[in-house]
């Protein structure tokens, strides 16, 4: 590859040093945090001892992935206003979590999404289903992050050959495994907090810098972007307005974005790290403000990159669309700022992957091992945590292998996929479970498995996978479903299946529903903090 030089002006040694500093600092923090990690509540839920604001910062760290940061800034720089539409869906989605899910979930569950879904159902089948969908969502999300790492390596470290990139992906995966194994949820949370602070402060700095270049006049900035990229960058429709199908696809994407967040298992699990439902509420409020302000920054970053770097230079740079933010940093502050942004981007991937790994390993150990295999009779909680640690190791290995295989795949597509699966398989079941009295085991299973299968099948038969030159398998041709985004079909189907499965079964546990509803709304008997 001739694109191996990396960004012009980039200094790989400097980029690696700044990233290395981040790794050293976070490892020290993780080892210190590990001293109190003994019980299952410590490992899965950090002893429920984080405050609302701390958890809110950690949630924004979990949520603002490489796709949010590099992907959206790049999408705005190249596709103009249509890139901004992603940010809005990602933000508004938090209202679903705030109003309908966060507090009720905190009051009824212990460690995982399965705790809530299985509360008033037959435990084993529902927990198994919850674990399957948790692992599916986490896997797609994990793949997206790791696939992005390869591109970043090319861009920022100047490593062009696939073997070198694979080696760096493996190193990133190994550091992540150390965070999770040593620090558990507490260590992982601190990594999220440090990373979120660096990311938001860095984005704020560049935003002010870009605005200063345009005399703090937003209109002048937009004018600059329009001058380089054509006036169409300011109007909607550049990417999704091409045909009737792309327009419909956009509606489908918008649905998955707004309904997916409250079904992401690694986000849901974060609500268990605080002592009360009120703190869970405060964490969402903090997360909404931080994420909202960050997405406003990305608007300036995207148009700033469009105006100061120009779409042509971004498109031809190694890393393509994902290089907009790093190129902007380079244009403003030279190699030092670029090195900082590069390190933040790596830290982002590392932290998000750690959060996903701990969630998936908790779901396997707690839902599958302790409750399905051992039928809830694990006499030794240490054993459950040991299983979680081994699972984390396996998932880490899968992430490294998947990252190497998926290297070069479209990150935004993989993330949208994870959101679509979360919105189809998880959200309908969560809402029915919390608010619909009649809901039962059969409804939960139909909704989870039905939503998951329909969603994944539609993706397999979509133009994103086959039938055209930009697809995953460009030479095969089985694109029977016309839209790359399945949400517009799979989400309603999952709600419908949940309803149908429920009314077709007579099972209904009145007493358990009473317990669940009273616990959810009042917080009686909710799991308490184990420290302090």
């Amino acid at each position: 590859m001739t694109l191996a030089q990396g960004v012009a002006g980039s200094s790989p040694a400097l980029n690696i040093s700044i990233f290395g500093l981040f790794v050293v600092i976070t490892l020290v923090v993780v080892f210190r945090a590990s001293k109190n990690t003994r019980t299952a509540a410590d490992y899965y839920a950090a002893g429920r001892a984080f405050t609302g604001p701390q958890n809110g910062i950690a949630i924004s760290g979990d949520y603002l992935s490489a796709a949010s940061f590099l992907g959206i800034a790049g999408a705005i720089a190249l596709n103009g206003y249509d890139g901004f539409l992603y940010s809005i869906g990602f933000l508004v989605a938090w209202l679903v979590a705030l109003l309908l899910v966060a507090e009720l979930l905190r009051n009824t569950g212990k460690y995982t999404m399965g705790d809530v879904l299985a509360f008033r159902m037959r435990q084993r089948p529902v927990r198994a289903a919850a674990a399957v969908s948790t692992l599916a969502v986490s896997f797609f999300y994990l793949l997206a992050q790791m696939a992005g790492a390869g591109g970043l390596v090319a861009l920022l470290l100047g490593i062009g050959n696939p073997v070198g990139q694979g080696a760096v992906i493996a190193v990133v995966g190994l550091i992540m495994i150390v965070y999770v194994l040593v620090g558990g949820m507490k260590g992982t949370t601190w990594v999220q907090i440090i990373k979120a602070a660096l990311l938001i402060v860095g984005a704020a700095g560049i935003t002010v810098w870009v605005l200063a270049r345009f005399g703090f006049n937003l209109s002048a900035l937009l004018g600059g972007a329009a001058q380089k990229g054509g006036p169409a960058v300011l109007d909607p429709g550049m990417q999704y307005g091409k045909t009737g199908l792309t327009q419909l696809d956009f509606v489908s994407l918008a649905l998955a974005l707004v309904l997916g967040t409250a079904g992401l298992p690694h986000i849901l699990m974060r609500f268990y790290t605080v002592p009360t439902a009120k703190e869970a509420r405060r964490s969402v409020v903090w997360a909404i403000w931080l994420i909202g302000v960050f997405y406003l920054f990305t608007l300036v970053l995207g148009y700033g990159a469009g105006a100061l770097v120009g779409p042509q230079a971004i498109r031809t740079a190694p890393g393509g669309v994902n290089s907009a933010a790093p190129l902007l940093a380079d244009a403003l502050g030279g190699p030092v700022l670029l090195g900082f942004i590069a390190a933040v981007a790596f830290a982002t991937i590392l932290a998000v992957v750690a959060g996903l790994t701990i969630t998936a390993s908790a779901s396997f150990a707690h839902d599958v091992y302790a409750n399905v295999i051992k039928k809830g009779a694990v006499d030794d909680k240490d054993q459950e945590v040991r299983v979680a640690r081994i699972t984390a190791l396996v998932i880490g290995a899968v992430a490294i292998a998947g990252g190497i295989v998926a290297n070069g795949q479209n990150i935004a597509f993989l993330v949208a996929l994870a959101f679509a699966v979360a919105a189809s398989a998880n959200l309908p079941t969560i809402l029915y479970s919390l608010f619909w009295k009649r809901f039962n085991t059969s409804g939960a299973l139909w909704s989870i498995y039905g939503g998951l299968v329909v969603c994944v099948l539609l993706i397999v038969f979509s133009p994103a996978v086959s039938g055209n030159s930009g697809a995953m398998f460009p030479h095969a041709d089985f694109d029977l479903f016309p839209l790359p985004n399945p949400g517009i079909v799979s989400i309603p189907v999952s709600f419908l299946l949940g309803w149908l499965g429920t009314v077709l079964s007579k099972e209904h546990d009145e007493a358990k529903y009473a317990e669940m509803e009273v616990r959810a709304l009042t917080g009686i008997g909710a799991e308490k903090a184990t420290h302090q």
């Binding site: 679903v96 809830g376 608010f435 009686i524 799991e527």
Partner: protein, 117 residues
């Protein structure tokens, strides 16, 4: 089953609480707020998405300088999200928390036998 190892009142008490007027009031307050508000922001979001998707001419209208309708409506989505968040916190602190607190106190005051621990 892992949920049954948890502490708290027994099955009869849960039903009793669920049937109480205080609890019905708490549920009414929660649902009366979150359901309409969810409907409202989803309709507002979908209206915005459909406009951005299908009404390009209208959305591209320049309002001042280079700022067009699309940008203003997009920023308003942020504003409405922040406003709804703030209103919910205010409502929850004033109307939901005290009511939940009251029910918890009633149960924990000893009127009800605790099992376990």
């Amino acid at each position: 089953m892992s949920t049954s190892e948890r502490t708290g009142p027994d099955a009869g008490t849960w039903r009793e609480v669920q049937d109480s007027a205080d609890f019905a009031e708490l549920r009414r307050r929660l649902r009366r707020f979150v359901f309409p508000m969810t409907g409202l922001f989803l309709i507002w979001y979908l209206a915005y998405v459909l406009l951005a998707d299908y009404a390009h001419g209208f959305m591209s209208t320049r309002l001042f300088g280079n700022v067009n309708v699309a940008l203003v409506l997009g920023i308003l989505q942020f504003v409405s999200t922040f406003v709804i968040t703030t209103i919910y916190v205010w409502y929850a602190n004033r109307k939901l928390d005290p009511q939940a607190e009251k029910i918890r106190a009633e149960i924990e005051s000893g009127a009800v036998e605790e099992t376990g621990e």
